[in-house]
């Protein structure tokens, strides 16, 4: 097991925690998910193709573990932790009350999305992956990524107090 692999893995942890937080809705579950993903990545290091993108590989592991965990605890649903609802950074990211409310609404709106839409929206809008990269991470056709993204935004925007989309 190479030290560089481990260092690269640690370097990805902040982004993996962000992705996991967007999936789980609370930091404790997100950290459990990331920790499990790191363990799994180390165990399956041989499956990682040198030269390919490690972040995409890790996003996929996190997402797969999340689905697995979600199946096991299907009744639990996504819990938005009040401590995490825009406040987990001590408010540094949003000093104005209206900004903090917007962040809390964004977290709640994400949690309310169906899991598949939430995952796609997180990878595109938060992690900054292209549609093609998202399709590769999730092993989905490009069209499926786009349709899930569209449906996610259609549900999300009104909850953020925004338009539902232009009239066609």
């Amino acid at each position: 097991m190479s030290d560089q692999f481990k260092k690269d893995l640690v370097g990805l942890v902040p982004r993996l925690r962000r992705f996991a937080l967007s999936l789980t809705g609370n930091q404790a579950d997100a950290d459990d998910l990331v920790q499990s993903a790191c363990v799994k990545a180390l165990k399956h290091e041989a499956q990682f193709r040198p030269g390919s993108r490690m972040d995409s590989w890790m996003y996929r592991i996190v997402q797969t573990l999340w689905i697995d965990d979600h199946r096991r605890a299907k009744s639990r649903g996504t819990q938005v932790d009040a401590e995490d609802a825009g406040l987990s950074d001590g408010g540094r990211a949003a000093r104005l009350p209206e900004d903090r409310m917007m962040l809390a609404r964004a977290q709640e709106a994400m949690a309310a999305l169906p899991e598949k839409q939430r995952t796609v929206l997180s990878l595109v809008a938060i992690e900054g992956l292209s549609y093609k990269e998202t399709a590769q991470v999730l092993n989905l056709p490009l069209g499926t990524v786009m349709s899930r993204l569209s449906r996610a935004r259609e549900a999300l925007l009104p909850q953020l107090g925004m338009t539902k989309g232009p009239m066609q």
Binding site: Q35, S36, D68, A94, L103, Y131, P166
Partner: protein, 249 residues
């Protein structure tokens, strides 16, 4: 009031998401100048993206938590391993014939049904005293075992079902480029392998979906597990207790 617009909102979203070429993006910019309804939607999408990015940004400003750092810098511990469900290529359920129209599965079927002596996992009752029977009965989930033949075996999870327990296991045979996956369930007669999956190891994590005995493609093992009434995987302590009680509920 929403202003009527002309452009497809997916194309506007693609513009916001940076999916368009510079030339296409430039066309959108010019278009937006004359279409306030589209401009409002683009502004909303950008604001939503920004709100989402900020809402989940806290981990970027925090140090890596110690448990995660430790997990990333050392060899995995058995108790911390969470089952990682693969998406195997072919599945065969005990006692059922595989649809002949599924070419690849049909190729695999004869070998699976024969229960090739080379395979660790084979459909049907697990012989008492066999290596597999011993592993199913006494091996904790997440503990890797390398057999004399070089195969790596691991019990992935123990799931409580209505009449007892089922255990998921995988066998990786790197020399033969083969990954076998099985679900064995315990009843009063002992262990029986109920499901058998197989795929080339080089295809692991690449192929999507598997084929049921009825020939219908599905995306995961969840339907099968649900038919068994499988509950959440046992944690290490509960699994140890079940093991100590001889897998009797």
């Amino acid at each position: 009031m929403t202003v009527p617009t002309v452009m497809d909102k997916d194309r506007l979203a693609a513009f916001v998401d940076g999916e368009l070429s510079p030339e296409e993006a430039a066309e959108i910019v010019i278009h937006l100048a004359d279409h306030p309804g589209d401009q409002v939607y683009v502004d909303d999408l950008m604001a939503a993206n920004e709100a989402l990015a900020q809402a989940f940004s806290a981990p970027l400003q925090e140090p890596v938590p110690d448990p995660i750092r430790e997990a990333s810098m050392k060899s995995p511990q058995a108790d911390t391993i969470v089952p990682f469900r693969r998406r195997p290529l072919a599945v065969v359920s005990a006692g059922l014939a595989l649809a002949a129209s599924v070419a690849l599965a049909a190729v695999l079927l004869p070998e699976l049904q024969r229960g090739s002596p080379e395979r660790i996992v084979a459909l049907g009752p697990v012989p008492l005293g066999s290596q597999l029977n011993d592993m199913l009965g006494t091996l904790s989930s997440g503990v890797p075992v390398t057999l004399d033949g070089g195969e790596d075996v691991m019990i992935l999870a123990t799931l409580p079902v209505e009449n007892g327990f089922c255990r998921e296991l995988e066998v990786v045979d790197a020399a033969k480029d083969r990954l076998d996956f099985g679900i064995a369930c315990h009843d009063s007669d002992g262990w029986t392998v109920e499901v058998m999956l197989s795929e080339p190891l080089s295809n692991a994590d690449l192929e999507d979906g598997f084929v049921t005995a009825s020939g219908a493609e599905v995306q995961s093992l969840q339907p099968f597990l649900e038919r068994l009434g499988a509950g959440p995987a046992l944690d290490a302590k509960a699994e140890a207790e079940a093991m100590a009680q001889g897998w009797v509920r």
